[in-house]
């Protein structure tokens, strides 16, 4: 997969799935898996591809670490504000992911424009 927009697409789809599971109150093992995927991979991968890291393994590893860091910062902020819940956490993370995806799309569009 070499499409530069692959991560934004994956992240947006994961985010939609996550919303469905949380808002519908689904309690299944699938929700646990999707949550792990979303929290440990998606948040970070919304931003890490912007750095154009040549090694895939490094990119993924940094993606996971960045995910953990961003999740922690978001969770801490909400906890301090006193409003931590599944919905508040999810919406905050989705907003952050959206920003990352938008930046990736912008970078892609700029690169495309430069080539043309």
């Amino acid at each position: 997969m070499s499409n530069p927009l692959r991560w934004p697409v994956v992240i947006v789809l994961s985010s939609l799935l996550m919303s469905n599971l949380v808002l519908a109150g689904v309690h299944t093992p699938v929700r646990v898996l999707v949550t792990l995927w979303f929290l440990l991979v998606c948040t970070g991968m919304a931003f890490v591809p912007l750095f154009r890291i040549p090694a895939l393994s490094i990119e993924l590893a940094l993606g996971v670490v960045t995910s953990i860091a961003l999740d922690t910062v978001v969770a801490t902020t909400i906890v301090v504000a006193g409003g931590l819940s599944a919905r508040s956490g999810l919406f905050a993370l989705q907003a952050i992911c959206l920003v990352g995806c938008a930046l990736q799309a912008r970078a892609w569009a700029q690169a495309r424009g430069a080539r043309v």
Binding site: M1, S2, M18, L21, V22, G25, V26, H27, T28, P29, V30, R31, V32, L33, T35, L36, F38, L39, V48, F51, R52, I53, P54, A55, I58, A61, L62, V65, T66, I68, A69, L70, D71, T72, V73, V74, A75, T76, I78, V79, V80, A81, G82, G83, L84, S85, A86, G89, L90
Partner: protein
Amino acid sequence: MALRADALPGVGLRRGPSPLARARARLQIPLYRNGYALVASSGLTSGLGLVYWLVAARAYSVTAVGVSAALISAMTLLANLCQLNLKSGLNRFLPRAGTTTARLVTRSYLLALGVSGVASLVFVAGLGIWSPRLQFLQQRPELVLWFVAATMVWTIFVLQDSVLAGIRRAAWVPLENVVYAVVKIVLLFALAAAAPTLGTFVAWTAPLLLLVVPVNLLLFRWLIPAHVRGTEDRQQPVAPWRLARYVAADYAAYLIITATVGVLPLVVLAVLGPASNAYYYVSWSIAYGLYLISSGMGVSMITEASLDPARLVGYRRQSTLETARLMVPAVALVVVAAPLILDLLGDGYSREGVTLLRLMALSALPWIVFVSYTNAARVERRMKAVVGAHAALCGLVLAIGLPLLGPLGIDGIGVGWLAAQSAVAAAIVAGRLARRSHRDWEEDAFRALSSAAAWIRMWWRRLTSAGALREVLAELRRRPGRSGWVVQRHLSTVNDVAASAVGRPGAEPAALVKRSASESGDRALGLHARALSTLPRLAGLAGWARMVPRLLASGRAGGRAYVVETRVPGTPCERLLRNGLGGERPLAAAAAAIGQLHQATGATTTVDEGLLSELVDIPLARLGPAVAGSSGLARAETALGRLRGELRGVLKGRRVITARVHGDLCPGNILMTPDGAAVRGIVDWEQTRERGLPQLDLLQLLMTARMTAQRREMGDVVAEMLRNPGWQAPERPLAGAIRRLDPDLAADTRPLVLLAWLHHLAANLGKSTRYGHSRVWIRRNVDPVLRIVLRQPVPVPATAPGPAALPEPWRAPRRRGLGERLADVRAAIGAARLEAAAALGALCLAVFLWLVSLDGIDPRAMTDLGLVSVLPLTFVLALLALTASFAVLVRRRPERNSLLAAHLLALIAFLHATPTIVYGTLRYSWAWKHVGIVDYLQRHGGVAPRIEYLSVYHNWPGFFGLDTLLTELAGLHDTLQLAVWGPVFVNVLNLGALVFLFSGLTRDRRVVWLGSWLFFIANWVGQDYFSPQAFAFLLYLVVLGVVVRWLGQRSADDGPGRRGALAFAVLLVATIAPSHALTGVMVSVALTVLVLAGVCRARILPFVAVAITALWDLVFAADFVGRNAGSTLEQVRLPWMTTESSLAQVGELSSGQALVAGVARGLVVAVVALAAVGAVRAMRAGQLNRAAAVLAAAPLLLFASGDYDGEILFRVYLFAVPFLAFLGAQAFIGQSDARRRSWTPPAASAVAGTLLLGAFLVAYYGKEHQNYFTPSEVAASRYVYTHGPPGSLLVEGTHNYPAQFKNYERFRYVTIAREPAASRARLLARPAAVLTDWMSDSALSAAYLIITRSQKVEVDELGSLPRGSLDRIERALLASPHFRVVFRNRDATVFSLAKVRG
């Protein structure tokens, strides 16, 4: 296929056959026939096996069934292990073993017999060790003999099925298995009275002899000789060493999956108990039946593709689709009917196992992809891929399933299987997609567009010619016997003709009506009608003409031409080729059929200008305008000119045979019997000519057959033929026929291939004008060939397509001596692979020993030496094997990253998963408190920085916030079960961080891996549980890794660049600061010293780190810091004074704990000494790593931050130990002997590693007697925290129990062991009276006192109270009328006051 250039307007079979006929047709294809046979065999065997055990359960006593079942299990296990995976090797290599088939089978049998004989004898001899209940066997020699013989015969029984599959006679497999199953059931009844004890075992084994002998007679007398005859021309005997390599690698994969499948029930049993294991095992067994569908079809695919490797892609696709066709409905059925299926087994199964069964059933779908991939890799002998895929799958199953076992129960394993299967399948698919070139994508897109365009055109033609069809049909109905004819179906066509099948309703179609849609269609149908009326009248071809459709009517309707012809029944050759029938037989039959026409009409002639024009100029004239307008080649016209010159030069004046030719002979125009043995019809004659070169018919068929079978384009195929002259195996009948027609002309394939290509293109251009206008068609079918024509000099093949160009007959290899063969084996395998294989074997052995050891660990039997006091010998052996293997591997093969990582993961599993699996509860009281903080955040949504208890966590809540977020989003009730696996998770992540960090410090992989190993056996301080420290420490390692890799003096170029690295580092510091106070300080210290030492170029980073940390500590946590700053400053002393206060007072400890403390200190000293030696060695070599050295020393500065509740020494060691380990690794691996292959360094590493490991076990596990909480204690604690109302008092003996994990803020806590000495003395003197006084405060809403087993253990071992104090208090309260017991079990008692004073 591009615009279906090879397809023609209509083929003979015009109506879809019935499902039964389709099924019959499928069974004619060996791939499906053998696959179905193996699937059926699996299903029947499972079903009849169930019947067998049902009968056994009713006819025999439970004890008898149990003993026999154990013997049968042992026998099958031994046989499966001792067949050495030869069954896979036989399946892979027998298809082409040719004359060596019998020898290969015999040798395999002998080897398996020998191994199984020895193994079964060893098993019987060692029954006292591994199965004392079966020791009665040793008392009866006849039983020993029977068991050994049965195991040996069972091994043959296993292998013979593979032999049958390998020689494509798998149809016998279900037959023999059904016979065997029925006979053993009959025997079961018969022996019920005669052998009530071992009848079940005897009935299972006795029929083996009855079957093994006749089946092998059948094999050796008839089936193998027939196979040899049938594959004589394709035989390719395999060298023994090649077989050995294949089998060895595949055996590793087999062991990996077998071990995983075998281990999971043991783990479920250990963690969740026997009932859950029963539910798990039943669900797994049912789902396993689904897995067997893929496996059976996969075996057949291996056999077929091994016989004809060129068609691997096609076979793989077909077997995958066929498996999916069977699997999808089966999985859907199981998913839907899961409750009903399990209900048959009882309420418990349907209640507990439904989700698991559904998950397991769903996991069978991605398994299709896995099986397809690994089987293709087996055919291609890519055994690394096979082993790697199995290791990845099983590793993921364990990595995902085991942690989920706690939160989800047995469903967690189902999630593990489904997620792992899906992930591996996704990786396989992604890998395939990634390997596809731009051109592949283009091809697929083009095919899809072509299909869509053809479909649209077909419908357009159909609509525009609908009126003509009605007209023609009305005309037909007026003829006798055709009054009831209707249109039965419309046919797909790709040219300017629409075709429909007509006939009586419900009957087979009787005729085809073809209508033109353009002028070229008119022309084509005119020629076709003329040919149909001419061909039957040709002399000497009366019989042959039955293969040609009969013309029923022709004319014009709706202004366009039409033709009505009889429908010729038969299966298109095209379909046979695509279905994997094998091309040789149908192509031979086709060559013979068209050969009759050529022979009857042939004549010898000289190529004059007229014939030259027909053969070369006219087709070129048709091609020229199209090329001029649409070719992508700048010199296309030059190429056409050269082509003309070349062809005319070869043909002019030559004596050739000319005959009537079909002109467009392709597999789609030939109709055959379902087995491809005979031709039933040849259709679509609009390109026929009276005078043409018969070779061109044959070559066109050959080229289009290759296109069909390999799904390629004409241009691509012809270009390949020009570049690599020669034929593929299935094409030999056609090649032979071409050569026989004119050996001289056939000596050089190039002109003939070019002519056939030219005529094929001209035919297509004549069929429809759209080809000529299609740039894509020209660029894909014309340009590749013209490009070759343009090349100079013209490549002349070294060999002509005569006999010399045909595949070489196989010659038997010269028999070689044993020495030569051994040398071959050594050379082939190589020392590197041998060492890696040995390491893998040792790793597997170690894992096996560890798994065996788990069952023998009884945590209740621990003494004051902790877990180490109950570790069985097998656990120690496992660690020894692992250490030795790692020491050798890291020294001699440091490039084997995966294998080394596997060793480290195994070490982590041994050390940290053992307590988790064995205890089944969360260990260590502080972990329970951390769970309590998450519980608080879940209930309140925020922190309370000034809360009375555990307020530090409310001031640094990062870790808990993250965990709460995870728990909430995942929909989990609490985080307890995630916390259980905390140490394993943390250490696995630490491994990744260490490798990342160390790789930035050195390029020597030995130091990276050995340093990581040393870290794990030196880090005994236990800060790796579910805690903020563990979390922040992980991030600390990553921050340092980012700095040394990408912000150092020599930055690696594999990262995000300097700015990106800086951003990552800042983000991580910002994560650490609110998560753990001390780590925030430490990271600032570390970054500062790195800058001061000149290691880090980003000088701003320490300032940023200090600013972020200070901002958090002094703003958000200001209140906490303010309250504690004074006491912290008071604790700041000289390091050695702080050290003294940190160390336990050995005088108060039990003897075991004193030893533990001493060993822990010794381990610290040893690690520091080792690091010093390493540093000196590196310094002498001038290669001391400055970053490692300063980072090892920097944590000493933490002594300036106070004594951290007496723990500062341990934290200093924690932060230093990664770099001590890194330096220590250099003590074993000096720079000067980097290339030495001596065994001394590995031996030294192993010995030192073993000593350190021994010390680690004592130091790390030494407090486990206190850290272990029984389920009974958890139940008591849960009672208190669930029932206590807000404002309750909880009196506890010590802190050491599952404390504060739920509703913790509701309580005030009084800990007896922490009371002032005077208060403690009063309490111990008069427990009931003092406690009554404490607990009867009217302000309390309730008061409880809890005394648990673990509190007593702590008191006895650490001396925090006089030994036996808590027992005495408990007895006193039990005897007191003022107290009542509100909860009590074997390990805990909870008291409250019997009457609260008003």
